[in-house]
């Protein structure tokens, strides 16, 4: 294990024998971004562009009786109006879709509602006009008749028999099949390991707690945007603000019933996504409008539309019970997780369950997960989907367990730490992991032992596990005559991956970073590449570019062999130079050989198509010091440290940026953020004024400690970095608040008002 304290002005490179990996070069896209040249979805401008706007339901739950668009269509400046009628119907394709027909119907319905609206903000119709202002006026002329239905916005309320049903024909899916009785509980799973009853019986101390967490949004500053334009040949081009051009293309092909070869998706620069820009929302609508209008159409969501009608993550109700012996060994863990799916099934309850007890070796356990629909927007992924609420519950119970036993919170976790071979409650087995190393590093960190004096101050810790991801990526590296290479991948660059991928390519090719020219391709120009999500890009597309680099070297070696008249297998490449065992006088550098390619057989392009099946998980421990104002309940964070195993830090500054950014999102989740609803299902705070993201004044400097326990199955040992850091903050902060004011919190966000209530002050 290797660790680096990299919080402050540390410019040292990794001592791992790498030339490029571990350094901190300027990000490739940085100059375009600091000069305003980078083009994001809302920046796209095309000749003849029309502006689209979406009419959205003002009601949380209602039947649509009729939609009359005639007045809107007649408004001068309006070129097209569309409704769900303009989408190809699921019914017509049922035979082809089979089991997927239901899910497809949900997908269509979310784009443009057909029979019912299921949340405030649900799209009902859309308009394309010559200016955004005319489009807005046209929306007001669309007449929709609704028949109101009662709404339900609380996850537990929705499970009751008396709750209004969102989908009258949906039963609960479980291992027993789908239940006949319609229910808002779309599915239930249960995972059991060992014998939980026995495990609890063996415990000396048992802690059981219930928690609620609010719906929260990814909070990207850039709203969703999409621009669609059709060619006369029926080919559709969409400029999409998306985490994955190929996934967007798949969705468009499905929704528009077009062959995917007729659709080109060009991913624009993305202004923040965090999982929320995997699902497409406005692109399909823009395509429908554009086809009708015969001109390109751009739709950009407003901020309130983003809150109301994109995909926030689940609010939850979670019960956790854990038992341990007096000696400090956890004997059993049990959890019930109720996650809001929003209007259609599909919350991340499964992946939340998958990580909540993951860092520990627990002999007996049971997790029950429920996916529940409510009259809120359909949930989307948010950085470690499902993980943060589950982790916040489990890590608070672990903290309480440690306290009741009288053990140090980190020691307790270390004693029970998972290691390679530990089986989790869902049956997955840990591979080579750095769980213990991260805990140990945190325990030894000066922050953990620094004195913290003063009333109403407390220190809390929390630990977390995220599995990460591999999957498909495609890349191509072409050699330029000047010894540089063009590296094309299909991975949308959300986080600086153009640079971290280029660094891996440079390392593999023996080139400098400046000699790699990275670009992100559209769907016509590279092979299928999975979304940039799941902390997969630097890992999986990294393997893809390394494979492409090795292919380049192999082809260059063959070219050298041809030049020298020696067998190809005698040529080797080391530190930028090709040599052959057959003739000591022959050697050529990469650059020299590159200059000769045209004369010696033509261009060389290395290909790296890959489907990564194994990848390394990441663990993180956070330490937070805070102070609570006992008169107002306001929390001030005094000091924050993130310790995380990243396998290998390709670009330490980018890694720190992920750790800091995720931690601050977690801080927002812990203290400030949450959708608020009235009883009618109206969201009360769809603005950045009242949906409160942390500002620069709300957080201190975030110290980062990069731990490196390399993952053996990646050429450079990399583990995904981006998601783990959003998991620990709420529990760490809750545990610190407990030490500051002696109260255990049970709801997120832990607002000043709730803290005062817990303290009995109000």
């Amino acid at each position: 294990m290797r660790k680096k304290e990299t919080g402050r002005a540390d410019q040292s490179t990794l001592t791992g024998g790498y030339a490029v990996i571990g350094t901190r070069p300027p990000r490739y896209d940085a100059v375009d971004k600091v000069t305003g040249r980078a083009l994001y979805g809302p920046d796209i401008r095309l000749p003849g562009l029309l502006h689209g706007k979406v009419l959205r339901s003002p009601h949380a739950h209602a039947r649509i009786l009729s939609i009359d668009t005639t007045c809107a269509e007649a408004l001068p400046g309006v070129y097209a109006v569309v409704t769900a009628e303009d989408l190809p119907r699921a019914e017509d394709r049922r035979a082809r879709l089979g089991e997927g027909a239901v899910n497809f119907k949900y997908l269509c319905d979310n784009i443009l509602a057909s029979a019912k609206v299921l949340y405030v903000g649900h799209a009902v119709a859309a308009v394309a006009a010559s200016t955004p202002h005319i489009a807005e006026q046209a929306l007001a002329l669309i007449d929709v008749e609704y028949s109101l239905l009662p709404a339900v916005v609380d996850v537990l309320e929705a499970t009751r028999d008396t709750a209004p049903l969102l989908h009258e024909h949906m039963g609960t899916r479980s291992l027993a099949g789908e239940s006949r009785t319609p229910s808002n509980t779309a599915s239930h799973f249960q995972q059991v390991k060992g014998d939980p009853e026995k495990g609890f019986a063996e415990a000396d101390v048992v802690v059981e707690r219930e928690f609620r967490t609010a719906t929260v949004h990814q909070g990207y500053i850039e709203p969703h945007a999409g621009t669609a334009i059709w060619g006369a040949d029926g080919r559709l081009t969409v400029y999409a603000t998306t985490q994955g051009a190929f996934t967007a293309r798949d969705q468009l092909a499905e929704l528009l019933d077009l062959p995917m070869s007729r659709i080109r998706v060009v991913p624009t620069e993305v202004g923040g996504a965090f999982g929320g820009k995997v699902t497409t929302y406005v692109e399909t609508v823009a395509a429908l409008l554009s086809r009708r209008a015969g001109r390109p159409v751009k739709i950009v969501m407003s901020r309130s539309e983003v809150f109301l009608a994109s995909g926030p993550t689940s609010g939850t109700a979670i019960r956790v019970k854990m038992g341990a012996t007096r000696a400090g060994r956890i004997t059993a863990a049990q959890a019930e997780l109720y996650y809001e799916a929003g209007a259609y099934p599909g919350s991340p309850v499964g992946s939340g369950a998958g990580v909540m007890f993951g860092p520990y070796d627990i002999p007996h356990g049971q997790i029950d997960g429920y996916d529940v629909v409510v009259n809120k927007p359909k949930t989307g992924s948010y950085r470690a989907p499902g993980g943060t609420p589950a982790n916040s519950a489990a890590e608070q119970v672990i903290d309480e367990l440690a306290e009741r036993i009288g053990m140090d919170p980190l020691e307790f976790r270390m004693l029970n730490s998972a290691k390679e071979g530990t089986r989790q409650i869902d049956g997955a087995v840990h591979t080579h992991i750095g769980c213990y190393e991260v805990l140990e590093t945190a325990r030894e960190h000066p922050h953990y032992s620094a004195p913290l004096e003063g009333p109403h101050r407390g220190r809390g810790v929390a630990h977390a596990y995220w599995g990460n991801w591999g999957a498909q990526s495609s890349s191509a590296i072409s050699v330029n005559a000047d010894g540089t290479v063009a590296m094309v991948t299909g991975s949308v660059d959300l986080t600086g991956t153009r640079t971290s991928l280029a660094m891996q390519a440079a390392e593999a090719l023996g080139l400098t970073l400046e000699q790699i020219v990275p670009s992100v391709a559209d769907t016509d120009s590279i092979g299928y590449t999975e979304v940039s999500a799941g902390s997969r890009t630097t890992v999986a597309t990294g393997q893809s570019v390394v494979k492409a680099a090795r292919d380049v070297i192999a082809q260059m070696s063959e070219r050298a062999a041809t030049l020298w008249g020696v067998p190809a297998d005698t040529v080797s490449f080391h530190r930028g130079t090709f040599t052959t065992g057959q003739d000591a006088t022959k050697s050529t550098t990469f650059g020299e050989l590159a200059a000769m390619l045209s004369r010696t057989g033509g261009p060389i392009t290395g290909v790296g198509n890959i489907d990564v099946q194994e990848w390394g998980a990441a663990f993180g421990t956070h330490i937070v010091d805070l102070e609570v104002d006992p008169e107002t309940g306001k929390v001030t964070i005094l000091r924050y440290t993130v310790v995380q195993d990243v396998g290998r830090a390709i670009h330490p500054s980018e890694v720190e940026g992920q750790m800091q950014g995720g931690a601050v999102q977690g801080i927002g989740w812990a203290l400030y953020e949450g959708y608020q609803y009235d009883e009618g299902g109206q969201m009360l705070n769809p603005t950045f004024l009242d949906y409160k993201l942390p500002t620069a004044l709300d957080v201190p400097s975030i110290e980062c400690v990069i731990v490196e326990v390399p993952y053996p199955k990646h050429p450079y040992g990399i583990r995904g970095v981006g998601e783990t850091p959003i998991l620990p903050p709420p529990a760490a902060i809750a545990n610190a608040i407990y030490r500051a004011v002696g109260r255990r919190m049970d709801r997120l966000p832990m607002t000043p008002g709730r803290i005062l209530e817990k303290m009995g002050v109000i």
Binding site: E136, E631, T632, Y672, L684, L689, K692, L697, T751, I762
Partner: protein, 310 residues
Amino acid sequence: MRPFEYQAPTSIGEAVALLADTGERARPLAGGTDLLVQLRRGLLEVDLVVDVKKIPELNRISFHPVEGLTVGAAVACAVLCEHPDVRAAYPALIDAASIIGGPAIQGRATIGGNLCNAAPSGDAIPAMIVVGATCTVAGPGGTRAVPVETFCTAPGRTVLGEDEMLVSIRFPAPMPNSGARYLRFIPRGEMDIAVAGAGAWVLLSDDHAQITDARIALAAVAPTPLLADAAGASLIGKAPTEDAFAEAAKLAREAARPIGDVRGTEAQRRHLVGVLVKRALRGAVRRATGDLATPSGRSTEPVQGGRNHG
């Protein structure tokens, strides 16, 4: 948003005439930080915005040690906060003006606009009330004076007629041994609307042993910013002690009529009134005794009542 026209008159007379002509369908535009947001949200519809920022009287800041301070209604908070006379003589006004949004908002927002917007939570208003400010209002018939505490009549409503506009706000010259302070509570460090706010002004005897006059005003706990008469009156004749502050705080809590909404519950707001009034009084007394400097605007701590001091 309904489209609107724009005019930028260069005199009060011209502006008043435009407002009189268009009536309810026109609004004066100063910083626009409330008006444009409300127009875009459809909370308000106008045919005409009358930009008042080109009218000389509305842009003036004039201070005289005896006559006091006059601040034009269109003076941006950022400009106000950098004015040396205002900083020296009216620190409570700076307390408030420097926390309305962040620097970009303060680059446009005005205390005049804050007052005319008449939000219950308007941060500038309690600070103006406690120091006894008066509004100068112009209409077709001439000008009139309105005490700030009666200017707002309901959320979003003021005493202004359709054909009237706010020209300036006058502040009496500060008296020796007097001090004022404004604080609010927000969940973040900045950029929030006040959950509750309290302004306090005290006048001490020459030996600083007694409070000879006091005013307390509250934000965000009633339909309009509220002058808490009884709370202020309770301090007169008392020594400036924690007991006196606690009594005033209790009366202020009783005067408050908070509601629960997306920003806070009724109980939380009522409780915060008590906390903030005490903190504001402590700060006002320290200023009266020369003990608490004006926030410098350069290395300022956020003025929302940290810890137990004001």
